[in-house]
Assembly symmetry: C2
Homo-oligomer: 374 residues x 2
């Protein structure tokens, strides 16, 4: 932990009563997740001393507000990690791969939200409601935050696994544009501005594609097909056997987080024209016989899960209602009619909050508590 | 079959060379499916004598074009079925329930696209590529056309079942607005006109709902939640155990069409902001060992299936590319890593064409051929 005389003051030098608290660096502070992170850091109980904001050279010098104070964004460099206790990384895989070890070497515990280290056996993959103890076992000084699609269902499945022993998952996702970062959000808004108000589109093959090319020209999209008035069954990059990297993350990360190395998982990941909040249709099979009533009770009791399940009254989770909230929302609970010991559920979670920034903040707070206790 | 002297003339009395051909009635000619049907009847090989267009009193008197000719829409009444050989019904369940038996009693073979008769053991449920012989076994004089969600995957699954013996399906749907008819299409366009161009929406709980209420007031929606910038995990009405009627249709109709009474099926049906074309993520398990290469070959050889499966080149089916086309499009073929004898696929089909009007037209043509041969 850093010396309070060096790191206990606010960015502007005012004494803030934060002496003795750990210093936090937020790397990628200007991105989609970073922006949400600054809001979360301002809302949650403040456990931090100094908070340093770090980004690429392009964004360095920007002034951003966190905890009600203006902070100047610093350029990513080895020196910014000097005296940092915890460094959150919300940056692309290759940036994390290069810089997380640099931060760790300078003494920071890194909480990384990229895919660079998640399957490294020396890096724990942590959901604080599910496997908090894993956060202390970090031989490389790095803790990984799971992929947002996987994270969306982990709180709910962790609660059910605890009681009934999860054995298999068949998952189909409805993933929001912001899973592809701010460029994804920008692109969806650009596309909606083109199609909104044109009542002829979406009725002939290629007409949406044509309208977007007409109006947006060759502006690059992070999506491999139109997203407005469409769904796109692809996220990530191609892996062996025709799987997308996103689909394999759901499988491999679920196994690691839940501690079930032989968990059977098949996932199909599909992007939908939603700004933020991922949804998942989950078919979950258990070792022990489970009823919907039992599953509902376990989910109601899970601290970070909200059950919304009265379809006749219109009560089920949807992204438009869930976005901006911290919990995982679960609805459409059904006992499978034909598959034994199997429950169907529909899960929604804000992919920028619990799916990314919130879980990262929760992990960082676990580390802060550990450092403060030590 | 009707007398050529009575029914062999066009609506306008011109001789059309259609003498001796069966008379067709299209009931629900002005609806979303009916409109597509008139296009399909104009494009396909013309096997019909007279085509009568029938609709509710509200639409009677409208003039519509079919086969290049203008036809006056008649009001639904028992007498319109006199001399009709085949009557297609594209109307709500309760209208079919009342009027299909009336048409059958007047001698017409009814091809009904509602849910009213699909599970009646005396009514065959037909997909011409899968179970065409069933169309001849119609003790009530009624043949049912399957639900559009089920129908989207039947051609592909029929081809795979033929080779490997289907035993189980886990399905998640991405259903288009037009599955709820023209009111669904209108509502989606209305909502997109509100949200398109507003780059603030979709980021806070309820902001889309609020904007729609602001701009659209209390205008009724066929959807139980906003559809723009959202996905809605509900279609149909509530059944026992929290299932939606749509989800049970996928189970019960798949069993009946494929002739597998003990087929295991779990479906989750979700509406997405797409105008037309349903998509399905399908996890299909077979009796016999199956490889992706074998599945691909069988699908390529299926006459009504197109395989689009080279994700690195952006080749996978999406609704925006598939809408308006007749075949079923299949992509994202993967061998399940953990479930034996299981293939994952993503299927797209135009829910107004193969999912409704086209399949109805194909069934009607089977009957026409039978009547002409007789």
């Amino acid at each position: 932990m850093s010396e309070p005389t060096t790191h206990g003051a606010g960015q502007d030098g005012r004494r803030t009563g934060r002496e003795g608290r750990p210093t936090l660096a937020v790397v990628g502070a200007t991105g989609a997740v970073g922006t949400v992170m600054l809001g979360i850091l301002s809302q949650r109980e403040d456990v931090w001393g100094e908070i340093r904001l770090v980004a690429s050279a392009r964004s360095a010098g920007t002034r951003l507000r966190v905890r009600g104070e203006e902070v100047v964004v610093q350029e990513l460099a080895a020196e910014v990690f000097d005296g940092v206790d915890v460094a959150m990384f919300d940056v692309p895989d290759e940036v994390s791969a290069q810089w997380a070890p640099v931060a760790a070497a300078r003494g920071a515990v890194v909480v990384d939200n990229s895919g660079a280290f998640r399957m490294d056996p020396d890096v724990p993959l942590v959901v604080p409601e599910v496997n908090p103890a894993q956060a202390r076992n970090r031989p490389r000084g790095i803790i990984s935050n799971p992929n947002c699609t996987t994270l969306t269902m982990m709180d709910a499945l962790g609660a059910l696994h605890h009681g009934w022993g999860l054995t298999a998952l068949v998952v189909a996702s409805y993933q929001a544009a912001s899973g592809a970062g701010q460029p994804g959000v920008d692109r969806l808004y650009d596309e909606l501005a083109v199609v909104g108000g044109d009542r002829s589109l979406g009725q002939r093959s290629g007409d949406v594609r044509g309208a977007l090319e007409d109006k947006l020209g060759s502006a690059p999209s992070p999506f491999p097909a139109p997203l407005a008035l469409n769904v796109v069954p692809w996220a990530g990059s191609l892996r062996d056997g025709g799987w997308s990297s996103e689909e394999l993350k759901v499988r491999d990360e679920s196994r690691k987080i839940l501690g079930i190395p032989d968990l059977k998982v098949s996932a199909t990941c599909v992007r939908v024209p939603v700004v933020t909040t991922h949804s998942l249709a989950v078919h979950a099979t258990f070792q022990r016989s489970i009823t919907v009533a039992e599953a509902r009770q376990a989910l109601v009791e899970a601290p970070s899960v909200v059950v919304l399940d009265d379809p006749e009254q219109g009560d089920f989770p949807t992204p438009a209602d869930v976005v901006g909230a911290d919990p995982t929302f679960v609805g459409r609970l059904r006992q499978s009619k034909d598959f034994p010991d199997t429950i169907e559920l529909f899960v929604c979670g804000d992919n920028l909050r619990k799916g990314a920034a919130l879980n990262t903040a929760q992990i960082a707070e676990l580390v802060a508590a550990e450092l403060t206790d030590a």
